[in-house]
Amino acid sequence: MILGVVRLACDALPDVEIVAEASSGPAAVEAASSLTPDLAVVDLDLPGIDGVTVLRALRDRGFAGRIVVVSERTDGATVLDAMRLEVDAYLPKPDGLRRIGDAIRRVLEGERAIDAALEQAAVLELGRFARQARESSEVDSSLTPREREILELLAEGLTMQQIGRRLDISPRTVETHVANLYRKLAVRSRVQAVSRAASLGLIELR
């Protein structure tokens, strides 16, 4: 359906021709990096693959052309992700499809065509993102090196006793550290502590 719409739109633009069509993420990435077109239209809602992953793969493979995105996803997080991958246009489905020819033309002329409402959603997400980053850094600087160490071991799944043996301190001391750690992370259990620390980017879950 999208392919048909894009074909029609491009036919109506005098200086535009389609050099390749793909119906899967990997095929699109392959085509874009071998043919290096000026512009790629990417549907973020391909079955079986996250569209943002496709965008990232395009940029990682060195595709430096312009990108026009069409998607049903209009949440701030997705739009912000797309903007971080330097898309030039983002059209919501299905209404935005009517403007695809216009968007392609404007983008080729060096303009951006991101809906005001979508851009606003991305800006709100950016606000949340900044707040969370600040919180991560504040929580991080409140932790002592010992608490960091214990946090890593909690994340590995060690019990209090195992942690005590590993660090050569008494289980009682471990408990005190863990209590402080919970307080600083504002959580009540080990599972919460680990998941919160991971979401703050303080530890990496393997």
Binding site: V123, L126, S137
Partner: protein, 236 residues
């Protein structure tokens, strides 16, 4: 049910408080212009203005309101620069809304302001109506990004993420060493400045390179500058 309206409800339209704005910017002409704009509105008023960070905080501690909008010019420099002011207001007056303003600020500067606690950014080159609109939006706790920078949303997010990663990966001391190194000092000069031995500084630097995955000082400084952790060049 009594039909008599409560005194507050009856009086509220008449005595409804204007939105209070406190303005901190180093440039007198900018302050004068913004004051005219704000005071020209029936629903806003300038409560105080200041030309530097310290005056700004002093002015705020005299304001007897729980919620005002603080406009912070990113051109504030020195030890009490815009970042200091934003952090201080966040800490001491957490209920106030903070709107950073600059003149064609780059994404890194904006990301730094947001990271330290600004609720939004407005560029001084926008239309006055949009400028006032931005003040009303942050007063409602809505994030705003007003000006040509809206196109840089993605780059601002990249920079904030890098800053968070650097903050989490480096210790406080390592960040301090990196900030001084960004001024272009030698290891010996850094040591003198921080009151430690030169060996300690080179050890710190080595550890910093390792954590950041870079091979030399220039790359480390470049990364820190991109994250807004250290500033290289002019603030506005």
């Amino acid at each position: 049910m009594s039909r008599r309206p409560s005194p507050e409800a009856a009086a509220s339209p008449a005595i409804r408080r204007k939105l209070g704005v406190v303005l901190v910017d180093p440039l007198p002409v900018v302050r004068a212009g913004i004051s005219l704009l704000v005071d020209g509105r029936p629903d806003m008023e300038i409560l105080a203005e200041a030309g530097d960070g310290k005056e700004g905080v002093d002015a705020l501690s005299r304001v007897r309101r729980t919620r005002v909008v603080v406009l912070v010019g990113l051109g504030l420099e020195g030890e009490r620069d815009a970042s200091w002011l934003i952090r201080t207001v966040r800490e001491r007056f957490p209920s106030h809304a903070l709107l950073a303003m600059g003149a064609n600020a780059d994404p890194t500067m904006i990301s730094r302001a947001l990271f330290v606690g600004a609720d939004g950014y407005v560029d001084k080159n926008v239309d006055p109506v949009d400028f006032l609109g931005a003040i009303l939006k942050v007063a409602d706790r809505e994030m705003v990004l007003q000006g040509p920078v809206a196109a840089a949303v993605g780059r601002i997010a990249d920079s904030i993420e890098l800053r968070r990663d650097l903050d989490v990966r480096l210790t406080g001391r390592e960040r301090e060493v990196l900030a001084v190194a960004a001024e272009g000092l030698t290891a010996r000069q850094i040591a003198t400045r921080l009151g430690v031995r030169e060996r300690t500084v080179t050890t710190h630097l080595g550890r910093i390179y390792g954590k950041l995955g870079v091979g030399n000082r220039l790359s480390a400084i470049r990364m820190a500058a991109r994250s807004g952790m250290v500033s290289v060049g002019s603030p506005e």
